[in-house]
Symmetry: C2
Subunit: 315 residues, 2 copies
């Protein structure tokens, strides 16, 4: 879309309807100086979940696919993994076996694949993967599986003086390696889960080493804590898609003045996936109840979006 059409025709991939109207009404009201809801630019903070909100998250969170593929890539250096769980299950493509081992197994894989490098090295590893790995069912690059209507929303908000932040349960350094290119969001506007890093003086100079220890889990109750830690103020707009965003919604909504809370509801089994209350990935249950009760905007992917992915846009 040519940029000069952005303000005269915002959100072109959104169907006319309640969701699009709610977004535009909110943005217009907080950016019009004459409106009693006017919010000065410095307070126009919008926060977005990533997995399932800005890009897809099926069959598993893409960062988990990265970790599993990384186990295979590193297996030659770790012959013991052939006989050690949960690595054995992964190397044998036994996903049920891996997932049955619970959170401890996930953390073991996370540390083995995300720790013990410098931050610079890790960025390179992520970049190599994200620019070459392909999604198991679509065959697309993962960065192609972003939502066109959300890109338009980010761009519209930016043009209206908002500062957009990603606030994800995913890894902060995993995301920062590529989100600036893909979403035009700079690294300092990315908040995520982290493992501890340590400053270490090496012969070649000082480096930051990623250690196999959890630093912060930016999910559920962690999201408002992470937002306040990084930004120091309360957003006026929050968009997510799962119960992991519930506390972020509640804390955002509790601020004084106008607020916009949006939930991306995965309702399109043909163009994307359809899931909510029963899904392991992106479970949306309690937050959906509260959204319906309080009149938050539930974005119905099937009905509200003309296209899902950028490659579907007619040019």
């Amino acid at each position: 879309m040519p940029h000069d059409n952005l303000l005269s025709n915002p959100l072109p991939s959104w169907n006319e309807g309640k969701s699009k109207k709610a977004v535009i009404n909110f943005v217009e009201s907080v950016t019009s100086e004459a409106n009693p809801n006017f919010v000065p630019p410095m307070d126009r903070i919008a926060v977005f979940d990533n997995d399932g909100t800005l890009w897809s998250e099926k069959p598993f969170y893409f960062q988990m696919i990265f970790a599993l593929e990384r186990v295979k890539a590193l297996a030659g250096l770790h012959p013991e993994w052939k006989e050690t769980q949960p690595f054995k299950a992964i190397l044998e493509d036994d996903m049920q076996g891996f997932l049955s081992k619970g959170m401890k197994a996930i953390l073991d894989v996370l540390f083995a694949t995300h720790g013990n490098t410098t931050s610079d090295e890790f960025e390179q590893i992520v970049l190599e993967w994200i620019t070459s790995a392909r999604h198991p069912t679509t065959g697309r690059l993962y960065t192609e599986m972003i939502y066109q209507p959300m890109l338009e929303l980010l761009e519209y908000l930016e043009a209206k003086g908002f500062k957009n932040y990603i606030v994800s349960g995913g890894g902060i350094e995993f995301m920062r390696a590529w989100v600036e290119d893909v979403y035009q969001i700079p690294p300092e506007q990315v908040i995520g889960s982290s493992i501890e890093t340590e400053f270490t003086m090496r012969p070649e100079g000082p480096v930051l080493v990623r250690t196999p220890k959890v630093d912060f889990v930016n999910d559920h109750e962690g999201k408002p804590v992470g937002i306040f830690k990084f930004i120091g103020r309360r957003p006026i707009m929050a968009v997510g898609n799962s119960d992991g965003d519930h506390q972020m919604f509640q804390w955002t909504a509790a601020g004084k003045g106008p607020r916009f809370i949006g939930l991306v509801h995965h309702t399109d089994q043909n163009r994307e996936w359809a899931y909510d209350r029963e899904s392991w990935v992106g479970k949306l249950d309690k937050a959906l109840d509260e959204a319906l009760e309080r009149g938050w905007t539930v974005i119905d992917m099937q009905h509200d979006w003309q296209v899902i992915y950028p490659w579907e846009v007619q040019t």
Copy 2:
């Protein structure tokens, strides 16, 4: 200073000399597109220590004075403090007694005075103090004891497309309560030490509660870790005044391309204070050695600055 003079006459309170020249040469070189050292605006990240770099820190860090005065303000609610150390020493104005009790005593006071409130309540407590408390020797508000030449430097960098961050060992929420008014630096550009906060649902709504647990110490090795966590990239300019900034200097200097490292050296016992290698507050020893060895810019407060505080400016 009128803003339109800023770029034709930057740093008016700095005496002509090596330090002023080094700053201006660096800024000019990284902001001139024709220069081989040119740095695009998004990478123009500058980090500043706070205590002793942007404002004074004697006789003790001002946040410690806040904590000690807070002990006295809260003493009525804690009759047991009259008989419990380190509170007893503080209530009896026995600073030697208090300091002799070491880091444990400091943490006890920190938790007692900085924890167990919501984030909103803590902001109010800090604001009330910072707008009324007076420095023991100058009788000034603490926010008047900021360095005029550094305000000019922040303003000059901002005008040249830099993004200025405060990176302090001081408390992140303590600083965020007032730095935007005083330095024109928004809360999301403030990085500091923190205690853990917890998301809690109360009858009146969700709040963030400050708990008596250390979350992160943003000092020494913590500074590069904090910078990378919050910003996700390496600064091209770092200014500090003590060994607590040493690793921030080293990590900033180790980046590829042009770098500016500046140390504020407290050399003016008449207009401010004179101290370095032997001082308990703001000790500058190893970082000074490395600065001299590597040719980093040592800013001599007595010789390089025409005035120290804003109230000295002739209008």
